[in-house]
C-alpha cells in the first residue's frame, strides 16, 4: 500500500495534468477550488479521475467540504 505522502503526490500530479497547471505550483494545503479555479462540475470530474486512478470509491458526501489536496489524499488513503 502506498504511503500518504505517495498518495498525496499522485493526487497533485493528477490534478496538475487535468487542469494544466505546473505541478510545482500546487501545494498540499492549496484550496483547489480557488487555486485551480474549478467549479463543482470540474470537481466531480477530478473525483471520477481519482476513483479510476486509485481504484477506490469516494462517496460524494465524504467529499463535501473537502477543498485541499491533503484532506483529499487522506480520504483516498482511508479507502486503499
Amino acid at each position: 500500500m502506498p504511503t500518504i505522502d505517495q498518495t498525496l503526490d499522485e493526487v497533485l500530479a493528477l490534478a496538475a495534468v487535468r487542469f494544466k497547471v505546473p505541478r510545482e505550483k500546487l501545494s498540499p494545503d492549496d484550496d483547489f477550488f480557488q487555486n485551480l479555479g474549478i467549479d463543482s462540475l470540474q470537481a466531480l470530474d477530478l473525483l471520477t479521475r481519482l476513483e479510476n486512478h486509485f481504484h477506490v470509491e469516494l462517496p460524494d458526501y465524504e467529499m463535501q467540504g473537502v477543498s485541499d489536496f491533503r484532506t483529499l489524499a487522506n480520504k483516498i488513503q482511508a479507502r486503499l
Binding site: D39, S40, L41, Q42, A43, L44, D45, T48, R49, E51, N52, H55, E57, P59, D60, Y61, Q64
Partner: protein
Amino acid sequence: MMRFQGQALSWEWKDGVIELALHRDPCNEIGSLTLGELERFSVALDELTMVSHAVILHSMQPAGFCAGADLRELFEGTQRMRREDAVRGVREFLERIHAVFNKIDASPLTTIAAVHGVTFGGGFELALVCDLIVADKMTRFCFPELRLGLIPGFGGIPRLKRDLGNSITRDLLLTGRSFNAVKSHQIGLVSQLVAEGEALNAARATAAQIGKFDRHTSAAAKQFIKPLPLEELRQEIEIFCNLFTRPAVEAGLRRFVASKEALPYLP
C-alpha cells in the same frame, strides 16, 4: 419523420438506426421544451419502427448525458400557483413524461443509451428506459432527489429495481451518492464500459450488430424479458405528488435556484 432538428434535441434515421441527440444548455435539463420534443420523437418512433432495428440516445453536451429535470422551471413555474394547481401541473408533466418513457422502454426496437459525464436524476431515468447503457469511464450516475425532499419522478426507481434489484436501488436512492462508470459496470448497470469520448462509437457498433438479427425475434425476446413495471410506475407518481406539497420541497428548490454553482444539483 426521418430527421428533426429541435431546440433541445434532434434525431436522425440512418441505415435502420434512429439516433436521438440531446443538445440543450447547460446539460440537457428536462423541462417543458424537452418534453414537447420528446413527445414528437415518440410519434416519430411509431412511424420509424417498421424500418428500424435500434435507437441510440446520446448527448452533445460536454458536461454529460443529462443533469435531470429542469428544476429552475419547476420552481419558477409553480411559485405563482396555488398549491393544488402546482400539484396538478406537476402531475400532468409526470403523466406526459411517463407516457414517453414507457413508449421508449417498451419499443420493439433495441434501445441504447450512450452516456458520458453527468447522468443524474431524470437523466439517469432516461438512460434507464434503454435496453443497454454504454458508458464512457467519466460517467457518473446519481439520484440526488432526496436532497430536494423528493423521490425520482420519471420512473427511475421501478426501472432500476426491475433491472438491478432492490439493494442497489436503495443504495443510490437513500444515500444520494453517485456511482462512477466502473462500479456501474461491475454491478451490471452499464453494459459496456469504454474510453472517454467513445460511448457513441461503441453504441453505433452495437446497433450495427443488432441489425444482423431478425427484428421480430429481437422484439419477441425483449418483450419476454423486459416487462414494464406499470403498477410501481403509477405508485411513483402518487408518492412524488404527495411529497411535492411538503414545505421541504419548496425550500430545497429555493436553495437550488439561489445556488451559483455550475451544476447546483451535484450531491
